[in-house]
Subunit: 340 residues, 2 copies
DNA sequence: TTGTAGGCGTTATCAC
DNA sequence: GTGATAACGCCTACAA
């Protein structure tokens, strides 16, 4: 099966290449019959337009690039699925690259996608932000980029973020109101904006309720179960187990709970837990884990909308959309109730 | 920041475009000083070669396309990460598209990637196989495609698969040897090749041990926790709970276990469990879940190697690589042991 | 309504 | 060693 081009079709039908080209791009006038004939023979020959050539000449690809920091934590998998679902309806294809939480790789990914002439980029940055200058330069060049999550509200770019502070505050306040007297926060990476914001929410709740300083603590972890386990090991070693934990995400909570159980602690009887960025396992855990659910699908959709707006209108204003979620209270953080 | 081309550099230095081009592709003769000068000024101007143009003229992109059926189940996330990790070392960029378990979307994805001139394609097919003809035509055209998982061994294409039958057999036999007398298999989708093969392994073990037909059953589910839960609800309704389950994957096991616990069953005391395609949560569950671990990283790497071999040598033979895994026995399927 | 011709940014084949 | 110049496949003035 040879790879046919418009030339081949043109030759076969004794018309010019431009006529053939026009048959495929209906913004030009062309006689109905010619067009029909061309399309028909093209179909028969199994002609497929070459998007590379198209891109080279018209600088538009109908492809959107997506860069995510990882996708082992379910959140970004859902984001990608949602982005794709939405953008396909709008006629775009979605190319995904993941950065493995590595800034250099992230930069390479973005460059690859841009040089492949994707019409725009949706970026969920990794920790650290050495690359922001690169992005801002591209944006200055007129390149449409929208950020998703993990970026500080103050950065002057279009973005969709979650109100981490607010919901972290609610989650913490819930623990306080349940009557827990010693509450630790397992906080994720220090230089990850979402972690930072959740820490702020935690502190804000503590301050509001005049929680004694010696009764709360912020402990840096990563984002994985393993790291939750490690922290608990340390705390057990130091005989420093509080009566409640608020965790940066569900996986850290899961790891921590496992390690506590192994050491004879009961959840929530001895130690209560709240997670964040709810995943499917929250409900499935024993006990089911209270967690803050982010509107993943909507966040992705909003980001895609922002991007399309910007692609269609060079001068679309910079926008920051802050999303809210919901706090699902389950057995892991409820006092005075029998475990079902 | 303007987008410079080799023309701009050529003009600036009063050399021809070919000289500039040669400076970047060191297979041609060119005076050392000219080359140095060109590279230096290019650097200063912030010149970036345009890969689209490059692709158009030399039909090679150093991009590899990857099509996965989903990536919410961790397995494919790991596959993608591993593929990327390996291929980047070889100088390739990895573009990922996911099909959401939808055959039509899968076809679109493959077409998009191919028409973007990726040098080769690694495909983990969705359920169903209407697209195989398309792939085989492309392969006949000389296009390098390697399949990963979820494809029958008999299909004459290069592929890396897991020996589902063998390990399913082992897992089942383990349950039999532990002395469980009534064993059900929650089997995933009927028309998914990996499910089918696991069913075969299950049956083979039953036959080998002359397990009474009335004491085992194969129940079709999906691949999600929810579906595990639904099946258990039905079984409870029918008072038909066996003393052991072998599940198509960990998520189904997780859902099933949760539902059983809610209904007062203890695991593994009342009902034992074995999962498959071990995920990180297997270890973290209570009780920890016995499961068959697939060599995800190696499978990805092998697939990438096959593909590169094929890209570099048009006539590389079709190869099928069948991988083995390991069976990790944990508390969920061990009899006569106190739950820790 | 259609054709001609130049351009998109590179590479590759000739000459010189 | 280097420079013209023709590809690669498509789009798009401009002319006819």
């Amino acid at each position: 099966m040879k790879h046919y081009t418009i030339k081949d079709i043109a030759k076969k039908l004794n018309v010019s290449v431009s006529t053939v080209s026009r048959a495929f791009n209906d913004k030009y006038d062309i006689k109905k019959e010619t067009k029909a004939l061309i399309l028909k023979t093209a179909e028969e020959m199994g002609y497929m337009p070459n998007p590379i050539a198209k891109k080279l000449s018209q600088k538009r690809s109908l492809n959107i690039g997506v860069v995510v920091p990882e996708f082992i934590n379910e959140y970004y998998s859902e984001i990608v699925i949602a982005l794709q679902e939405f953008l396909i309806l709008k006629g775009y294809q979605v190319l995904v690259m993941q950065s493995d939480e590595n800034e250099d790789l992230e930069l390479m990914n973005a460059q690859t996608l841009i040089s492949n002439m994707v019409d725009g980029l949706i970026v969920a940055p990794t920790t650290g932000n050495r690359n922001m200058k690169y992005y801002q330069d591209r944006i200055k060049d007129g390149y449409p980029i929208v950020f998703l999550n993990r970026i500080e509200e103050s950065v002057p770019v279009s973005k969709v973020v979650f109100n981490n502070l607010k919901w972290s505050f609610f989650a913490t306040e819930h623990l306080i109101r349940q009557g827990y007297k010693k509450i630790y926060h397992l906080s994720g990476y220090k230089d990850l904006s979402v972690s930072y914001e959740r820490v702020q929410g935690f502190k804000k709740a503590m301050n509001k309720h005049n929680f004694p300083k010696e009764n709360y603590k912020i402990i840096e972890t990563g984002l994985l179960a393993k790291e939750g386990m490690e922290v608990i090991e340390d705390l057990i070693f130091n005989h420093d187990i509080p009566d409640a934990f608020f965790c940066v995400n569900d996986m850290v909570a899961l790891g921590a709970i496992k390690k506590l159980k192994e050491n004879g602690y009961a959840v929530p009887k001895d130690v209560a837990f709240v997670g964040f960025t709810e995943t499917r396992i929250a409900e499935l855990m024993s006990p089911p884990l209270s967690s803050v659910k982010q509107p993943t699908y909507d966040m992705a959709k909003k980001a895609a909308e922002l991007l399309l707006k910007r692609i269609e209108d060079e001068n679309a204003p910079i926008e920051t959309i802050v999303m809210n979620g919901e706090f699902n209270i389950r057995q892991s953080s409820v006092k005075n109730k029998a475990v079902l």
